[in-house]
Protein backbone atom coordinates (compact mmCIF):
# COMPACT_ATOMS: atom_id res chain seq x y z
CA UNK A 1 0.00 0.00 0.00
CA UNK A 2 2.69 2.46 0.96
CA UNK A 3 4.93 1.73 -1.97
CA UNK A 4 2.45 2.28 -4.77
CA UNK A 5 4.56 3.70 -7.59
CA UNK A 6 3.26 6.87 -9.14
CA UNK A 7 4.13 7.75 -12.71
CA UNK A 8 3.95 11.48 -12.18
CA UNK A 9 6.39 14.30 -12.48
CA UNK A 10 5.78 18.01 -12.46
CA UNK A 11 3.39 19.67 -10.04
CA UNK A 12 2.62 16.41 -8.27
CA UNK A 13 6.10 16.40 -6.83
CA UNK A 14 4.70 19.02 -4.47
CA UNK A 15 1.10 17.92 -4.28
CA UNK A 16 0.17 20.16 -1.38
CA UNK A 17 -1.35 22.99 -3.42
CA UNK A 18 -3.13 23.68 -6.65
CA UNK A 19 -6.52 22.69 -8.05
CA UNK A 20 -6.60 19.74 -10.41
CA UNK A 21 -10.29 19.51 -11.26
CA UNK A 22 -13.27 21.85 -11.25
CA UNK A 23 -16.89 21.19 -11.99
CA UNK A 24 -20.31 20.54 -10.53
CA UNK A 25 -19.71 23.23 -7.93
CA UNK A 26 -16.61 21.63 -6.42
CA UNK A 27 -12.85 21.82 -6.76
CA UNK A 28 -10.47 18.91 -6.25
CA UNK A 29 -6.95 19.68 -5.03
CA UNK A 30 -3.93 17.77 -6.22
CA UNK A 31 -3.48 16.43 -2.70
CA UNK A 32 -6.99 14.95 -2.74
CA UNK A 33 -6.29 13.54 -6.17
CA UNK A 34 -3.24 11.66 -4.90
CA UNK A 35 -5.36 10.23 -2.09
CA UNK A 36 -8.07 9.23 -4.55
CA UNK A 37 -5.52 7.51 -6.80
CA UNK A 38 -4.01 5.57 -3.93
CA UNK A 39 -7.40 4.55 -2.61
CA UNK A 40 -8.51 3.41 -6.04
CA UNK A 41 -5.19 1.59 -6.64
CA UNK A 42 -5.71 -0.21 -3.34
CA UNK A 43 -9.07 -1.50 -4.52
CA UNK A 44 -7.76 -2.94 -7.79
CA UNK A 45 -7.32 -6.67 -8.26
CA UNK A 46 -3.80 -8.08 -8.54
CA UNK A 47 -3.70 -8.53 -12.31
CA UNK A 48 -1.38 -7.66 -15.19
CA UNK A 49 -3.87 -5.78 -17.31
CA UNK A 50 -7.32 -4.27 -16.95
CA UNK A 51 -9.88 -2.44 -19.03
CA UNK A 52 -10.60 1.15 -18.06
CA UNK A 53 -14.27 1.90 -18.38
CA UNK A 54 -15.26 5.27 -19.89
CA UNK A 55 -16.38 7.56 -17.08
CA UNK A 56 -16.45 11.21 -16.04
CA UNK A 57 -13.18 12.98 -16.72
CA UNK A 58 -11.87 13.24 -13.15
CA UNK A 59 -12.84 9.70 -12.23
CA UNK A 60 -11.30 8.49 -15.48
CA UNK A 61 -8.05 10.25 -14.57
CA UNK A 62 -8.04 8.74 -11.07
CA UNK A 63 -8.70 5.24 -12.37
CA UNK A 64 -6.13 5.57 -15.15
CA UNK A 65 -3.46 6.69 -12.69
CA UNK A 66 -4.49 4.03 -10.19
CA UNK A 67 -4.07 1.35 -12.83
CA UNK A 68 -0.73 2.75 -13.96
CA UNK A 69 0.51 3.11 -10.40
CA UNK A 70 -0.22 -0.56 -9.76
CA UNK A 71 1.89 -1.41 -12.80
CA UNK A 72 -1.10 -2.68 -14.77
CA UNK A 73 -1.35 -2.37 -18.49
CA UNK A 74 -4.41 -0.17 -18.74
CA UNK A 75 -6.60 -0.82 -21.73
CA UNK A 76 -8.52 2.35 -22.52
CA UNK A 77 -11.83 1.23 -23.94
CA UNK A 78 -14.13 3.53 -25.80
CA UNK A 79 -13.15 4.28 -29.33
CA UNK A 80 -14.89 7.62 -29.67
CA UNK A 81 -18.22 9.29 -29.12
CA UNK A 82 -19.47 7.12 -26.33
CA UNK A 83 -19.46 3.70 -27.92
CA UNK A 84 -17.10 2.60 -25.18
CA UNK A 85 -19.59 0.30 -23.54
CA UNK A 86 -19.45 -2.00 -26.53
CA UNK A 87 -15.66 -2.05 -26.25
CA UNK A 88 -15.77 -2.72 -22.51
CA UNK A 89 -18.09 -5.63 -23.14
CA UNK A 90 -15.83 -6.96 -25.89
CA UNK A 91 -12.60 -6.59 -23.91
CA UNK A 92 -14.15 -7.13 -20.49
CA UNK A 93 -14.75 -10.73 -21.50
CA UNK A 94 -11.02 -11.35 -21.17
CA UNK A 95 -9.82 -8.69 -18.73
CA UNK A 96 -11.07 -7.28 -15.45
CA UNK A 97 -12.68 -3.84 -15.65
CA UNK A 98 -11.43 -0.85 -13.65
CA UNK A 99 -14.22 1.42 -12.62
CA UNK A 100 -16.88 -1.24 -12.55
CA UNK A 101 -19.86 -0.01 -10.58
CA UNK A 102 -18.62 -1.36 -7.24
CA UNK A 103 -14.95 -0.35 -7.39
CA UNK A 104 -15.14 3.41 -7.09
CA UNK A 105 -13.07 5.31 -4.58
CA UNK A 106 -14.37 4.10 -1.26
CA UNK A 107 -14.18 6.23 1.82
CA UNK A 108 -12.58 3.65 4.08
CA UNK A 109 -9.73 3.19 1.65
CA UNK A 110 -9.32 6.95 1.34
CA UNK A 111 -9.09 7.33 5.13
CA UNK A 112 -6.50 4.60 5.33
CA UNK A 113 -4.48 6.37 2.64
CA UNK A 114 -4.78 9.66 4.48
CA UNK A 115 -3.26 8.01 7.55
CA UNK A 116 -0.38 6.67 5.44
CA UNK A 117 0.22 10.05 3.80
CA UNK A 118 0.09 11.86 7.15
CA UNK A 119 2.53 9.44 8.73
CA UNK A 120 5.00 10.29 5.94
CA UNK A 121 5.37 6.65 5.02
CA UNK A 122 4.91 7.26 1.31
CA UNK A 123 7.45 5.74 -1.01
CA UNK A 124 7.28 6.62 -4.68
CA UNK A 125 8.87 4.03 -6.90
CA UNK A 126 10.37 4.86 -10.26
CA UNK A 127 8.72 3.33 -13.28
CA UNK A 128 10.33 2.00 -16.41
CA UNK A 129 9.24 4.86 -18.65
CA UNK A 130 9.72 2.98 -21.90
CA UNK A 131 7.48 0.04 -21.03
CA UNK A 132 4.07 -0.15 -22.70
CA UNK A 133 1.59 0.85 -20.02
CA UNK A 134 -1.59 2.07 -21.65
CA UNK A 135 -3.33 0.63 -24.64
CA UNK A 136 -5.56 2.94 -26.64
CA UNK A 137 -7.78 1.94 -29.46
CA UNK A 138 -7.99 3.75 -32.75
CA UNK A 139 -11.32 4.00 -34.47
CA UNK A 140 -10.15 1.05 -36.50
CA UNK A 141 -10.06 1.20 -40.23
CA UNK A 142 -11.19 -2.35 -40.74
CA UNK A 143 -14.21 -2.27 -38.47
CA UNK A 144 -12.37 -3.84 -35.54
CA UNK A 145 -10.65 -1.35 -33.21
CA UNK A 146 -6.86 -1.68 -33.19
CA UNK A 147 -4.91 -1.37 -29.93
CA UNK A 148 -2.03 1.12 -29.71
CA UNK A 149 0.35 0.48 -26.85
CA UNK A 150 1.71 3.65 -25.23
CA UNK A 151 4.64 4.03 -22.89
CA UNK A 152 4.62 6.58 -20.11
CA UNK A 153 7.52 8.31 -21.89
CA UNK A 154 5.29 8.69 -24.95
CA UNK A 155 2.23 9.91 -23.03
CA UNK A 156 4.30 12.42 -21.05
CA UNK A 157 5.97 13.60 -24.28
CA UNK A 158 2.53 14.16 -25.84
CA UNK A 159 1.52 16.38 -22.93
CA UNK A 160 4.79 18.32 -23.17
CA UNK A 161 4.22 18.86 -26.89
CA UNK A 162 0.80 20.40 -26.24
CA UNK A 163 2.29 22.73 -23.68
CA UNK A 164 5.17 23.70 -25.96
CA UNK A 165 3.03 24.23 -29.06
CA UNK A 166 -0.04 25.95 -27.65
CA UNK A 167 -0.28 29.11 -25.52
CA UNK A 168 -1.97 27.25 -22.65
CA UNK A 169 -1.84 29.53 -19.59
CA UNK A 170 -0.03 27.57 -16.86
CA UNK A 171 0.22 28.49 -13.20
CA UNK A 172 -2.62 30.98 -13.63
CA UNK A 173 -5.47 29.03 -12.05
CA UNK A 174 -6.88 28.16 -15.48
CA UNK A 175 -9.17 25.32 -16.50
CA UNK A 176 -9.33 23.18 -19.61
CA UNK A 177 -12.98 22.72 -20.62
CA UNK A 178 -13.11 19.87 -23.13
CA UNK A 179 -16.09 18.86 -25.24
CA UNK A 180 -14.37 15.63 -26.27
CA UNK A 181 -14.21 12.42 -24.23
CA UNK A 182 -11.11 11.65 -22.12
CA UNK A 183 -10.71 8.18 -23.61
CA UNK A 184 -10.07 9.43 -27.12
CA UNK A 185 -6.38 10.26 -27.82
CA UNK A 186 -6.94 14.01 -28.28
CA UNK A 187 -9.04 14.25 -25.12
CA UNK A 188 -6.67 12.03 -23.14
CA UNK A 189 -3.68 14.15 -24.06
CA UNK A 190 -5.02 17.62 -23.55
CA UNK A 191 -7.75 17.16 -20.95
CA UNK A 192 -6.16 14.46 -18.78
CA UNK A 193 -2.37 14.31 -19.28
CA UNK A 194 -1.77 18.07 -19.54
CA UNK A 195 -3.65 18.82 -16.27
CA UNK A 196 -1.98 15.82 -14.66
CA UNK A 197 1.52 16.97 -15.50
CA UNK A 198 1.22 20.77 -15.69
CA UNK A 199 -0.30 23.45 -13.54
CA UNK A 200 -3.72 23.81 -15.12
CA UNK A 201 -7.02 22.23 -14.03
CA UNK A 202 -9.50 20.09 -15.94
CA UNK A 203 -13.24 20.66 -16.08
CA UNK A 204 -14.92 17.51 -14.79
CA UNK A 205 -17.59 17.20 -17.44
CA UNK A 206 -18.09 16.87 -21.16
CA UNK A 207 -20.43 19.57 -22.44
CA UNK A 208 -21.55 18.93 -25.99
CA UNK A 209 -24.35 21.33 -26.88
CA UNK A 210 -23.60 25.07 -27.10
CA UNK A 211 -25.73 25.79 -24.02
CA UNK A 212 -23.83 23.21 -21.99
CA UNK A 213 -20.48 24.53 -23.19
CA UNK A 214 -21.39 28.10 -22.20
CA UNK A 215 -22.59 26.93 -18.80
CA UNK A 216 -19.42 24.88 -18.24
CA UNK A 217 -17.22 27.83 -19.18
CA UNK A 218 -19.20 30.14 -16.89
CA UNK A 219 -18.78 27.71 -13.98
CA UNK A 220 -14.98 28.01 -13.88
CA UNK A 221 -12.83 31.10 -13.26
CA UNK A 222 -10.69 32.51 -16.07
CA UNK A 223 -8.41 31.80 -17.80
CA UNK A 224 -10.53 29.22 -19.67
CA UNK A 225 -9.20 26.95 -22.38
CA UNK A 226 -11.87 25.56 -24.69
CA UNK A 227 -10.92 22.21 -26.25
CA UNK A 228 -13.35 21.22 -28.95
CA UNK A 229 -14.05 19.99 -32.48
CA UNK A 230 -15.17 21.86 -35.63
CA UNK A 231 -18.75 20.55 -35.43
CA UNK A 232 -19.21 21.76 -31.86
CA UNK A 233 -17.40 25.01 -32.49
CA UNK A 234 -19.65 25.75 -35.43
CA UNK A 235 -22.72 25.26 -33.24
CA UNK A 236 -21.21 27.37 -30.43
CA UNK A 237 -20.34 30.41 -32.55
CA UNK A 238 -23.37 30.06 -34.80
CA UNK A 239 -25.75 31.56 -32.25
CA UNK A 240 -25.94 35.14 -31.10
CA UNK A 241 -25.79 34.24 -27.40
CA UNK A 242 -22.87 35.48 -25.31
CA UNK A 243 -20.16 33.02 -24.41
CA UNK A 244 -17.96 33.59 -21.33
CA UNK A 245 -14.49 34.94 -21.99
CA UNK A 246 -12.08 32.32 -23.31
CA UNK A 247 -8.29 32.63 -23.35
CA UNK A 248 -7.59 29.96 -25.96
CA UNK A 249 -9.60 27.78 -28.34
CA UNK A 250 -8.18 24.43 -29.42
CA UNK A 251 -9.76 22.43 -32.23
CA UNK A 252 -8.89 18.97 -33.51
CA UNK A 253 -10.40 15.69 -34.73
CA UNK A 254 -11.48 17.01 -38.15
CA UNK A 255 -10.31 19.69 -40.57
CA UNK A 256 -11.44 23.14 -39.49
CA UNK A 257 -12.66 25.35 -42.33
CA UNK A 258 -10.73 28.65 -42.34
CA UNK A 259 -13.94 30.67 -42.43
CA UNK A 260 -15.09 28.97 -39.21
CA UNK A 261 -11.70 29.61 -37.59
CA UNK A 262 -12.00 33.35 -38.36
CA UNK A 263 -15.55 33.49 -37.06
CA UNK A 264 -14.62 31.66 -33.85
CA UNK A 265 -11.67 34.00 -33.18
CA UNK A 266 -13.90 36.99 -33.81
CA UNK A 267 -16.91 35.82 -31.77
CA UNK A 268 -14.92 34.43 -28.83
CA UNK A 269 -12.15 37.06 -29.05
CA UNK A 270 -9.45 34.45 -28.47
CA UNK A 271 -6.75 32.82 -30.56
CA UNK A 272 -7.71 29.52 -32.13
CA UNK A 273 -5.08 26.83 -32.55
CA UNK A 274 -5.70 23.67 -34.48
CA UNK A 275 -4.07 20.35 -33.61
CA UNK A 276 -3.31 17.62 -36.09
CA UNK A 277 -2.74 14.18 -34.67
CA UNK A 278 -3.82 10.58 -34.65
CA UNK A 279 -3.95 7.81 -32.09
CA UNK A 280 -0.75 6.10 -33.26
CA UNK A 281 1.33 9.26 -32.69
CA UNK A 282 -0.70 11.57 -30.48
CA UNK A 283 -0.27 15.28 -31.25
CA UNK A 284 1.79 15.70 -34.42
CA UNK A 285 1.53 19.34 -35.44
CA UNK A 286 -0.31 22.59 -34.80
CA UNK A 287 -1.23 25.75 -36.68
CA UNK A 288 -3.25 28.91 -36.26
CA UNK A 289 -5.56 28.62 -39.27
CA UNK A 290 -6.30 32.35 -39.48
CA UNK A 291 -2.58 32.96 -40.02
CA UNK A 292 -1.20 30.01 -41.94
CA UNK A 293 -2.17 26.88 -43.78
CA UNK A 294 1.10 25.22 -42.96
CA UNK A 295 1.34 22.81 -40.04
CA UNK A 296 4.30 23.15 -37.67
CA UNK A 297 5.62 19.88 -36.29
CA UNK A 298 5.42 19.43 -32.53
CA UNK A 299 8.68 19.31 -30.58
CA UNK A 300 10.91 16.31 -31.12
CA UNK A 301 9.07 15.13 -34.27
CA UNK A 302 10.85 14.36 -37.52
CA UNK A 303 9.41 13.56 -40.93
CA UNK A 304 11.13 10.63 -42.62
CA UNK A 305 10.56 8.33 -45.56
CA UNK A 306 9.96 9.61 -49.07
CA UNK A 307 7.05 10.89 -51.16
CA UNK A 308 4.29 9.84 -51.05
CA UNK A 309 4.87 7.53 -48.05
CA UNK A 310 6.12 9.99 -45.44
CA UNK A 311 6.38 8.86 -41.88
CA UNK A 312 6.90 10.41 -38.52
CA UNK A 313 9.57 9.61 -35.92
CA UNK A 314 10.24 10.78 -32.37
CA UNK A 315 12.45 9.54 -29.57
CA UNK A 316 9.46 8.32 -27.62
CA UNK A 317 8.05 6.24 -30.52
CA UNK A 318 9.14 2.61 -30.70
CA UNK A 319 9.13 2.90 -34.51
CA UNK A 320 8.20 5.53 -37.12
CA UNK A 321 4.48 5.77 -37.85
CA UNK A 322 2.88 6.40 -41.22
CA UNK A 323 0.77 9.50 -41.90
CA UNK A 324 -2.89 8.65 -42.49
CA UNK A 325 -3.12 11.64 -44.85
CA UNK A 326 -1.13 12.63 -47.90
CA UNK A 327 1.32 15.34 -46.91
CA UNK A 328 4.06 17.47 -48.43
CA UNK A 329 6.95 18.50 -46.15
CA UNK A 330 7.68 22.25 -46.02
CA UNK A 331 11.11 23.17 -44.71
CA UNK A 332 12.48 21.31 -41.71
CA UNK A 333 9.59 21.59 -39.30
CA UNK A 334 6.47 22.03 -41.40
CA UNK A 335 4.14 20.29 -43.83
CA UNK A 336 0.95 20.76 -45.78
CA UNK A 337 -1.86 18.26 -45.97
CA UNK A 338 -2.60 17.50 -49.61
CA UNK A 339 -5.61 15.33 -48.97
CA UNK A 340 -6.80 12.28 -47.25
CA UNK A 341 -5.39 8.95 -48.25
CA UNK A 342 -7.70 7.37 -50.78
CA UNK A 343 -8.89 4.67 -48.46
CA UNK A 344 -9.31 6.38 -45.12
CA UNK A 345 -12.03 8.91 -44.42
CA UNK A 346 -12.78 10.87 -41.31
CA UNK A 347 -16.34 11.34 -40.17
CA UNK A 348 -17.30 12.98 -36.89
CA UNK A 349 -13.70 12.74 -35.72
CA UNK A 350 -13.37 9.02 -36.36
CA UNK A 351 -11.45 7.36 -39.11
CA UNK A 352 -13.11 4.74 -41.26
CA UNK A 353 -11.92 2.89 -44.29
CA UNK A 354 -14.08 3.32 -47.34
CA UNK A 355 -13.69 -0.35 -48.16
CA UNK A 356 -14.98 -1.33 -44.69
CA UNK A 357 -18.12 0.79 -45.22
CA UNK A 358 -18.52 -0.68 -48.70
CA UNK A 359 -18.06 -4.18 -47.29
CA UNK A 360 -20.92 -3.55 -44.86
CA UNK A 361 -23.20 -2.85 -47.83
CA UNK A 362 -22.01 -5.91 -49.68
CA UNK A 363 -22.91 -8.13 -46.69
CA UNK A 364 -26.57 -7.23 -47.15
CA UNK A 365 -28.53 -9.96 -48.95
CA UNK A 366 -29.40 -8.74 -52.43
CA UNK A 367 -26.54 -6.23 -52.66
CA UNK A 368 -24.14 -7.12 -55.45
CA UNK A 369 -21.73 -4.20 -55.33
CA UNK A 370 -21.36 -0.92 -53.49
CA UNK A 371 -19.19 2.19 -53.55
CA UNK A 372 -19.01 5.00 -51.03
CA UNK A 373 -17.84 8.50 -51.83
CA UNK A 374 -17.83 11.96 -50.37
CA UNK A 375 -19.12 15.01 -52.06
CA UNK A 376 -17.99 18.52 -51.24
CA UNK A 377 -20.42 19.71 -48.63
CA UNK A 378 -21.50 23.21 -47.76
CA UNK A 379 -18.64 25.26 -46.25
CA UNK A 380 -18.22 24.40 -42.60
CA UNK A 381 -20.39 21.31 -42.69
CA UNK A 382 -18.93 17.87 -42.27
CA UNK A 383 -18.85 15.79 -45.39
CA UNK A 384 -21.16 12.84 -45.16
CA UNK A 385 -20.87 9.63 -47.12
CA UNK A 386 -22.98 8.88 -50.17
CA UNK A 387 -23.46 5.30 -51.35
CA UNK A 388 -23.89 3.98 -54.88
CA UNK A 389 -25.31 0.48 -54.67
CA UNK A 390 -25.95 -2.26 -57.18
CA UNK A 391 -28.94 -4.20 -55.84
CA UNK A 392 -31.57 -4.97 -58.48
CA UNK A 393 -33.96 -6.62 -56.00
CA UNK A 394 -33.73 -4.19 -53.07
CA UNK A 395 -35.16 -0.79 -52.31
CA UNK A 396 -33.22 2.02 -50.65
CA UNK A 397 -35.03 1.89 -47.30
CA UNK A 398 -34.37 -1.85 -46.91
CA UNK A 399 -30.69 -1.28 -47.65
CA UNK A 400 -30.47 1.61 -45.19
CA UNK A 401 -32.19 -0.38 -42.45
CA UNK A 402 -29.79 -3.25 -42.95
CA UNK A 403 -26.67 -1.11 -43.11
CA UNK A 404 -27.64 0.71 -39.92
CA UNK A 405 -27.29 -2.59 -38.07
CA UNK A 406 -23.74 -2.90 -39.37
CA UNK A 407 -22.23 0.59 -39.24
CA UNK A 408 -21.48 3.33 -36.78
CA UNK A 409 -24.32 5.89 -37.12
CA UNK A 410 -22.01 8.62 -38.44
CA UNK A 411 -20.92 6.56 -41.42
CA UNK A 412 -24.40 5.53 -42.50
CA UNK A 413 -24.71 7.32 -45.84
CA UNK A 414 -27.10 10.23 -46.07
CA UNK A 415 -27.94 9.41 -49.65
CA UNK A 416 -28.13 6.03 -51.33
CA UNK A 417 -28.45 5.73 -55.10
CA UNK A 418 -29.29 2.46 -56.81
CA UNK A 419 -27.22 2.01 -59.96
CA UNK A 420 -27.04 -0.77 -62.56
CA UNK A 421 -23.25 -1.13 -62.22
CA UNK A 422 -20.14 0.54 -60.81
CA UNK A 423 -17.07 1.71 -62.72
CA UNK A 424 -14.42 -0.94 -62.06
CA UNK A 425 -11.13 -1.48 -63.88
CA UNK A 426 -10.04 -4.73 -65.50
CA UNK A 427 -8.53 -5.78 -62.16
CA UNK A 428 -11.93 -5.02 -60.58
CA UNK A 429 -10.46 -2.06 -58.72
CA UNK A 430 -13.03 0.63 -58.15
CA UNK A 431 -12.40 3.69 -60.36
CA UNK A 432 -13.00 6.29 -57.66
CA UNK A 433 -12.43 9.21 -60.00
CA UNK A 434 -15.35 8.10 -62.14
CA UNK A 435 -17.72 7.80 -59.18
CA UNK A 436 -18.03 11.58 -58.85
CA UNK A 437 -19.03 11.84 -62.50
CA UNK A 438 -21.59 9.09 -61.98
CA UNK A 439 -22.97 10.87 -58.91
CA UNK A 440 -23.23 14.16 -60.78
CA UNK A 441 -25.14 12.46 -63.58
CA UNK A 442 -27.50 10.79 -61.09
CA UNK A 443 -28.21 14.12 -59.40
CA UNK A 444 -28.77 15.86 -62.70
CA UNK A 445 -31.21 13.14 -63.74
CA UNK A 446 -33.16 13.71 -60.50
CA UNK A 447 -33.36 17.49 -60.72
Amino acid sequence: MNDVPLPYRGPLVSPGHGILARGAGRSVSRATFVEDVRACAHSLPDVAAAVLRPSERYRFMVELCAGLSRGLRVVVAGVAHGDGDREVTRLGGVLPVIGAADSGVDLAARQEVRRCVESGATVVKALDFSRGIAELFTSGSTGEPVGQLKSWANLAACASRYVAALPIPLGAGGTIVATVPPWHMYGLEISVLVPLLYDVALFDGQPTYPGDIREALASVPPPRILVTTPVQLRALVGTTRDTPEVALIVSAAAPLPRILASKAEQVLAAPLHEVYGFTEAGIVATRRPTQTEEWTLASGMRIGGAAPDWNLAAEDFPAPVAFPDLIEPQGRQGFRILGRSQEIVKIGGKRFSLSAIEAAFCEIPGVIDAAVLFDSAEEGREERPIALVVAPTCDVSTILDAVRQRLDPVCVPREVFLVPSLPRSGTSKLQRGELKVLLRDLREALS
Partner: protein, 88 residues
Protein backbone atom coordinates in the same frame (compact mmCIF):
# COMPACT_ATOMS: atom_id res chain seq x y z
CA UNK B 1 -49.93 8.34 -38.91
CA UNK B 2 -51.60 10.91 -36.73
CA UNK B 3 -52.09 14.49 -37.90
CA UNK B 4 -49.34 16.96 -37.24
CA UNK B 5 -49.73 20.33 -35.58
CA UNK B 6 -48.59 23.47 -37.41
CA UNK B 7 -45.42 23.57 -35.28
CA UNK B 8 -44.67 19.90 -35.96
CA UNK B 9 -44.99 20.54 -39.70
CA UNK B 10 -42.68 23.54 -39.41
CA UNK B 11 -40.09 21.56 -37.43
CA UNK B 12 -40.27 18.59 -39.82
CA UNK B 13 -39.49 21.04 -42.65
CA UNK B 14 -36.62 22.45 -40.63
CA UNK B 15 -35.13 19.00 -39.89
CA UNK B 16 -35.27 17.97 -43.53
CA UNK B 17 -33.81 21.22 -44.85
CA UNK B 18 -31.10 21.67 -42.19
CA UNK B 19 -29.89 18.09 -42.44
CA UNK B 20 -30.52 17.78 -46.19
CA UNK B 21 -32.41 14.56 -45.61
CA UNK B 22 -33.63 12.48 -48.47
CA UNK B 23 -37.20 12.22 -47.13
CA UNK B 24 -40.29 14.33 -47.53
CA UNK B 25 -41.18 16.30 -44.35
CA UNK B 26 -44.73 15.00 -44.69
CA UNK B 27 -43.47 11.43 -44.44
CA UNK B 28 -42.02 11.91 -40.95
CA UNK B 29 -44.29 10.23 -38.46
CA UNK B 30 -44.55 12.56 -35.44
CA UNK B 31 -44.19 9.60 -33.09
CA UNK B 32 -41.33 7.90 -34.89
CA UNK B 33 -37.82 7.89 -33.40
CA UNK B 34 -35.59 10.64 -34.76
CA UNK B 35 -32.36 8.85 -33.89
CA UNK B 36 -31.26 5.28 -34.48
CA UNK B 37 -34.08 3.43 -36.19
CA UNK B 38 -36.71 5.79 -37.54
CA UNK B 39 -35.04 8.80 -39.18
CA UNK B 40 -31.55 7.54 -38.33
CA UNK B 41 -30.11 10.83 -37.11
CA UNK B 42 -26.81 10.89 -35.18
CA UNK B 43 -24.84 13.06 -32.78
CA UNK B 44 -23.56 15.37 -35.53
CA UNK B 45 -27.14 15.98 -36.65
CA UNK B 46 -28.16 16.72 -33.07
CA UNK B 47 -25.66 19.58 -32.93
CA UNK B 48 -26.81 20.98 -36.27
CA UNK B 49 -30.40 20.87 -35.06
CA UNK B 50 -29.54 22.43 -31.71
CA UNK B 51 -27.98 25.39 -33.51
CA UNK B 52 -30.96 25.86 -35.79
CA UNK B 53 -33.49 25.48 -32.97
CA UNK B 54 -31.69 28.16 -30.96
CA UNK B 55 -31.59 30.53 -33.94
CA UNK B 56 -35.20 30.05 -34.96
CA UNK B 57 -36.96 29.59 -31.66
CA UNK B 58 -34.51 30.88 -29.05
CA UNK B 59 -34.49 27.49 -27.32
CA UNK B 60 -31.16 26.19 -26.05
CA UNK B 61 -30.81 22.44 -26.16
CA UNK B 62 -28.78 20.95 -23.31
CA UNK B 63 -27.28 17.48 -23.17
CA UNK B 64 -27.04 17.69 -19.41
CA UNK B 65 -30.72 18.49 -19.35
CA UNK B 66 -32.38 15.40 -17.89
CA UNK B 67 -35.10 15.71 -20.47
CA UNK B 68 -32.72 15.78 -23.40
CA UNK B 69 -33.18 12.17 -24.33
CA UNK B 70 -36.91 12.72 -24.30
CA UNK B 71 -36.73 15.98 -26.29
CA UNK B 72 -35.04 14.37 -29.28
CA UNK B 73 -37.07 11.18 -29.07
CA UNK B 74 -39.60 12.14 -31.72
CA UNK B 75 -40.86 15.05 -33.76
CA UNK B 76 -43.83 15.33 -31.39
CA UNK B 77 -41.59 15.49 -28.29
CA UNK B 78 -39.27 18.01 -29.93
CA UNK B 79 -42.18 20.22 -31.01
CA UNK B 80 -43.71 20.06 -27.52
CA UNK B 81 -40.40 21.12 -25.96
CA UNK B 82 -39.89 23.96 -28.44
CA UNK B 83 -43.52 25.05 -28.08
CA UNK B 84 -43.15 25.26 -24.30
CA UNK B 85 -39.75 26.98 -24.25
CA UNK B 86 -39.71 29.18 -27.35
CA UNK B 87 -38.77 32.82 -26.92
CA UNK B 88 -39.23 33.80 -30.55
Amino acid sequence: MTDKTALEIEIADMIVSVLALDVSPGAIDPDDFLFGAGLGLDSIDALELALEIDERYGVEIRAEDEENEHIFRSLRALAAHIGAKRTK
